[in-house]
């Protein structure tokens, strides 16, 4: 099976979007999880709801909402326009779509791990002079490692499969913003493209397998150390 150049580009683009989206989402997701796990403030439930919204809504709808926000008439879009930043119809839009849609998964995983941390450890750290930020970095971060790993591999996999929101805000431009799922969809919807669609599916599976293996190896390694 020979892939067309645009297919190769789609594979590379998807990998890039997945990696960048994960890198962008990780710190944000960690912060959000920390707020939800340890924070005590009003409006926490509201914040939680907000983080979960992209999960509840069909990605296509998320895409429309993002388009409203980031488009030239949107609040954020106009701001970005002033700064000369173009988002719509660029691969950055695909990253944003992935980040927004996968965010709830990431936050959930990390938060779950954080909630499992023995409070005595946090207390010990505090009594040893570690301030909140210090504790986050030296106790909470390493002890929620499993959750971060699980969450980010989940997130990466989700971003490899992200379709609905991406096609709306990034468009489906072969060689430019066409990610793997868009290419797969294109092929799958014409009877003659079934073979290529399946081959691209396999690539997508292989990619997430690689991330999964990496995740397991890191966990195993850390356990053994």
């Amino acid at each position: 099976m020979q892939f067309a150049p645009t297919d190769i580009q789609a594979i590379l683009l998807s990998a890039r979007v997945g990696v960048v989206a994960t890198l962008v989402a990780l710190p944000l997701g960690f912060l959000a999880a920390w707020l939800l796990a340890f924070g005590r403030f009003k409006g926490k439930l509201l914040l939680e709801l907000l983080f979960n919204l992209p999960l509840t809504l069909p990605p296509v709808v998320v895409g429309y909402l993002l388009l409203l926000l980031l488009g030239s008439q949107g609040a954020l879009g106009r701001l970005l326009d002033l700064l000369g930043i173009k988002i719509i119809f660029t691969w950055k839009a695909a990253v944003i779509a992935s980040v927004v849609v996968g965010f709830p998964l990431l936050v959930r995983s990390i938060r779950l791990a954080m909630e499992g941390i023995d409070l005595h450890l946090v207390q010990a750290a505090r009594s040893l002079g570690a301030g909140p930020l210090d504790i986050i970095l030296t106790v909470i971060l390493p002890l929620s490692r499993r959750g971060i790993m699980a969450g980010s591999s989940l997130f990466f996999a989700r971003s490899l499969g992200e379709f609905g929101a991406t096609i709306i805000i990034a468009g489906n431009m072969p060689g430019v913003t066409q990610t793997l799922p868009l290419a797969i969809y294109d092929y799958a919807s014409s009877p003659s493209g079934e073979g290529t669609a399946l081959a691209l599916c396999a690539v997508s599976i292989l990619l997430s397998l690689a991330v999964l293996m990496l995740h397991e190896t890191i966990l195993q390694h850390k356990k053994g150390a």
Binding site: S72, I88, F89, I167, I168, G171, S190, P191, S192
Partner: protein
């Protein structure tokens, strides 16, 4: 760049490739999707010059919003609504559809082909009888998929799409054009596109015999 309704994907790709070969230095970026999504993208400031839609509704929407150049609006191609289904079935008239169990049409709210199909049902007076049998697909390609896999007895699709069918399904019946508005594919230049000479040149190229031959090859009608 071009925003192209999904059902025009193959033909517009071939046409633009041809044009690029003819006119060195010109290159197109193409964006494929549902007409509605494409229109919304343009509304949100997507850098699009030329919009090929699958129905008039979204072109008018853009024109009303002063996002498209009304003067440039034109019809690009025509198509025919057909019923595709299991090779054994015999459909001679719309009335024959009542006997079937499942019929796939595009969702009339969002898919033009579905809208045409609904109009045809109404005109033939069988809309009430078939209402419960309808499976609303999100696009024509999905209708085609159902027909191809034998999940439905019949599907309302365009002739151009039906030509792609494998042996599991074939065209059973061509819906008479008097039962619905003619299937047209309009195109329009956006405000940004109307300032670009290449875009105008491409529109001119589309009217050429060479371009029409390509469209005909893909099953479109050009009159």
């Amino acid at each position: 760049s071009l925003s192209v309704a999904a059902s025009l994907r193959e033909s517009v790709t071939e046409l633009s490739d041809l044009f690029q070969k003819r006119t060195p230095g010109v290159s197109f970026k193409k964006n494929f999707g549902a007409s509605g999504a494409l229109a919304k993208q343009i509304e949100s400031g997507a850098p699009v010059d030329l919009f090929f839609a699958a129905n008039n509704e979204w072109v008018e929407y853009l024109i009303k919003k002063k996002l498209a150049d009304e003067k440039s609006a034109g019809l690009f191609a025509y198509n025919q609504l057909v019923v595709a289904g299991k090779p054994g079935l015999k459909i001679a008239s719309m009335q024959d559809l009542v006997k079937l169990n499942r019929i796939a049409i595009g969702s009339p709210k969002s898919v033009p082909a579905g809208e045409y199909a609904m109009a045809a049902f109404k005109k033939s007076g069988i809309d009430k009888q078939v209402e419960k049998k309808l499976v609303l697909a999100k696009d024509v390609r999905e209708c085609l998929l159902y027909a191809d896999r034998g999940e439905v007895d019949a599907a309302f699709v365009y002739k151009t799409d039906a030509l792609l069918l494998s042996k599991h399904a074939k065209i059973l019946y061509v819906v008479p054009e008097n039962l619905h508005d003619r299937v047209t594919y309009p195109m329009v230049l956006t405000v940004a596109g109307s300032k670009k000479p290449e875009a105008a040149a491409f529109i001119k190229f589309l009217a050429s015999a060479e371009a029409k031959a390509v469209l005909t090859k893909h099953g479109f009608e050009v009159r």
